[in-house]
């Protein structure tokens, strides 16, 4: 808690022949954070080359990824014991899969083609091809028209014609024979009917095409069925094998992170100090020879593993989202675990809303996993704090259900004062933490000037204010001297930037007024909802039903608003006002070699 996990820098040197065994051991231990070898470092070492099998492994990975994404396989993988058997099984499986897949693709394309052919409108005209040739005295029109032609042609006196007309969707497919001398007149008539000329397909047989289509569809169905069964049968195997392959692949590519000479390798990394012994024991006991381990106290760029008790763990999420502290800095998760729920509860402060949130996130924390689970845990604490402050403010869904210790609607002056006082405490806590951080990284003088400069400035302005308000009668001189001394300290510690930021300390404290303001808006909305429902309640049974609906929707909406508003504002007070006083961050997260990547 507060301090991040102590690390030890380790360098493992050994013969190339034992590299593979060392990688296996490190991978199974999962306690070492590897630092990639940097070619630009002076020395005789070169970048390692991946093992021979890496290429084949990554090829297999691409294949298995295509199968897995085809089936959308997800789940937990088990360990595979027999590699060569699994390899053979996958080779057969992949062959079946790809041949079935290409078969399905072919059938699909053919199906589309046949469907299009079948839908060809001109195919509906069944006239022997020999009648469709060029004539000396007869003009032939073939194509599509938008409306039925028979009527129109009949009403045109003097044209004798022969018409074959078939309905095709919204259009009509026609073959029209007229005397050549009437051709022009007919053409105008046709154009009015939206004529477009089209050829009649040769050898068009609806029956044959339908038969072929049915055949293709059956084939497609069978192939799809086969693929589905193949997937179902090998679901777990694919998961297992994928997991196995990615592990193997990562191991095979690990030499890329090592430095190598002709016959030796060097691996550098960080191990949590309390696990160093475990690593040393394992390497000593293993049948790997000629491996030499060095320890170093240089902790530059050491990775960060946050080390917090179980209750605080969920709050590490806030640092995950922001940035890891650097190695020497204090890990503020534990502080946030206390203040975040307090701020949240102070803003929401309602027994009803608190219990509702407790129910929602209690269930969520049981069902959810990963980040959502952590977030639910945070909100459970926040909900409990809201219930507590609900009793202080005497509020239940906005209604006053008991004599409040503090009435936040009618005593805004006190509330504002308390909110800013909380800010005063929180910011000074931040300054003290900052003092510790600066002490560790820049020494006492700098830490004292920058952090106690601020505290002295607050005290100086405070004395001036108290004297001006005639609460104490010591005159303006002590306050003025202290203020000027504080300004000098800040100038020495932070330079001109410190002077520019002077007023910010008070605007930061004033910013905590939101603790009161957000809460007030939440109560006001609740009160409005209750009033609306209350006046409806008197208007008979329908009114009662309406009142219940208004209560349900209104309070749910207000809970959602409160959840969003209170958590964001509480978070903001930490990120901006609190962290600004001490937190620099920028640490790299500790990722032990061999840890399974979450995805």
């Amino acid at each position: 808690m507060l301090k991040t996990m102590p690390m030890t820098k380790i360098r493992i040197t050994g013969l190339k022949s034992s590299m593979k065994a060392v990688i296996d051991i490190l991978y199974s231990l999962k306690i070492m954070h590897l630092v990639d070898f940097n070619k630009s470092e002076p020395g005789f070492l070169d970048l390692g080359k991946p093992f021979m099998e890496a290429e084949e492994l990554s090829e297999s990975l691409v294949r298995i990824d295509s199968v897995i994404s085809f089936y959308g396989i997800k789940g937990k993988a088990n360990r595979i014991e027999n590699f060569s058997e699994a390899k053979g099984h996958f080779a057969r499986l992949f062959e079946d899969f790809s041949s079935a897949n290409s078969k399905a693709a072919g059938a699909n394309a053919r199906q589309a083609e046949l469907k299009q052919k079948l839908a060809e409108p001109m195919g509906r005209i069944k006239i022997d091809k020999k009648y469709l040739r060029e004539y000396d005295s007869i003009a032939v029109f073939k194509g599509l028209v938008k409306k039925q032609l028979g009527q129109a042609l009949h009403s045109q006196s003097g044209i004798s014609f022969k018409l074959v007309e078939e309905k095709a969707g919204e259009n009509y497919a026609i073959a029209l024979f007229v005397p050549k001398k009437e051709a022009e007149k007919t053409r105008t008539l046709l154009l009015n009917a939206g004529f477009s000329e089209q050829e009649i397909p040769e050898n068009f047989s609806e029956e044959k095409i339908s038969q072929e289509l049915a055949c293709t569809e059956k084939e497609l169905f069978q192939t799809k069925d086969f693929l589905e069964k193949l997937g179902k049968k090998n679901w777990q195997f694919l998961l297992d094998y994928k997991f196995f392959l990615s592990e193997m692949n990562e191991k095979a590519e690990t030499p890329l992170r090592f430095g190598v000479s002709e016959n030796a390798f060097v691996a550098t990394g960080f191990v949590p100090a309390r696990k160093v012994k475990e690593l040393k024991n394992r390497l000593d006991k293993s049948p790997v020879h000629a491996v030499y381990i060095e320890f170093s106290n240089s902790l530059e760029n050491a990775p960060i593993e946050l080390d917090n008790p179980k209750l605080v763990k969920p709050f590490e999420l806030f640092l995950d989202l922001y940035t890891m502290p650097s190695y020497k800095e204090i890990d503020p998760s534990a502080l946030m675990a206390i203040t975040f729920p307090i701020f949240f509860g102070f803003m929401l402060g309602d027994v009803g809303y608190g219990l509702l949130m407790l129910a929602i996130f209690g269930i969520a924390s049981l069902k959810a996993s990963g980040q959502l689970k952590g977030f639910s845990r945070i909100l459970i604490w926040s909900a409990l704090s809201s219930v507590f402050f609900g009793f202080v403010f005497g509020e239940f869904f906005g209604a006053e259900f008991m004599e409040p210790v503090l009435n936040r609607v009618h005593e805004p002056t006190q509330m504002l004062g308390i909110a800013v006082a909380i800010g005063f405490v929180h910011i000074n806590l931040g300054l003290l933490v900052g003092f510790y951080n600066e002490l560790k990284s820049h020494g006492f003088k700098h830490a004292f000037l920058t952090k106690f400069g601020w505290i002295a400035f607050e005290a100086g302005i405070g004395l001036l204010a108290l004297d001006a308000l005639q609460i104490i009668g010591i005159g303006l001189i002590p306050g003025a001297v202290l203020t000027l001394a504080a300004i000098a300290m800040l100038y020495l510690g932070e330079g001109a930037r410190g002077l520019v930021e002077l007023p910010s300390i008070f605007s930061n404290m004033l910013s905590y007024a939101r603790l009161f303001a957000v809460g007030l808006s939440s109560v006001s909305i609740a009160l409005v909802v209750n009033q609306m429902a209350g006046s409806l309640w008197q208007a008979g049974i329908l009114g009662m039903a309406g009142a219940i609906i208004i209560l349900a929707i209104g309070h749910l909406l207000n809970t959602a608003l409160g959840l969003l508003g209170c958590s964001l504002h509480s978070l903001r007070l930490h990120y901006v006002e609190f962290f600004g006083k001490f937190f620099k961050g920028g640490g790299q997260k500790f990722v032990p070699f061999g840890q399974i990547k979450e995805n």
Binding site: P412, L510, A513, A517, L568, R572, Y575
Partner: protein, 81 residues
């Protein structure tokens, strides 16, 4: 009626309330404007680099304090009544 309003001080109260409303409305408009500008830029940056979400959020909420100033001033004005 006007005379009555003047006599009871209702107009004074109304003017004070309007003054408070202007204080908070002005601050809110200012903060909203600032957040709009920052928010657009932050979303743009996030589209390129999603891990900038928290930095973007922090930058976006910084002007929020302006509303709090407005609230405090409005509160001080109301105290006059």
């Amino acid at each position: 009626m006007v005379a009555e309003a003047i006599a009871t001080g209702a107009i004074d109260k109304g003017l004070i309330a309007i003054g408070a409303a202007i204080a908070i409305a002005g601050a809110a408009i200012g903060a909203a404007w600032a957040e709009k500008e920052i928010g657009t830029a932050a979303v743009g940056a996030m589209a390129e680099k999603p891990e900038l979400f928290v930095s973007g959020l922090i930058l976006t909420v910084i002007p929020e304090t302006i509303v709090i100033f407005g609230l405090v001033i409005a509160y001080l004005i109301i105290q006059i009544a």
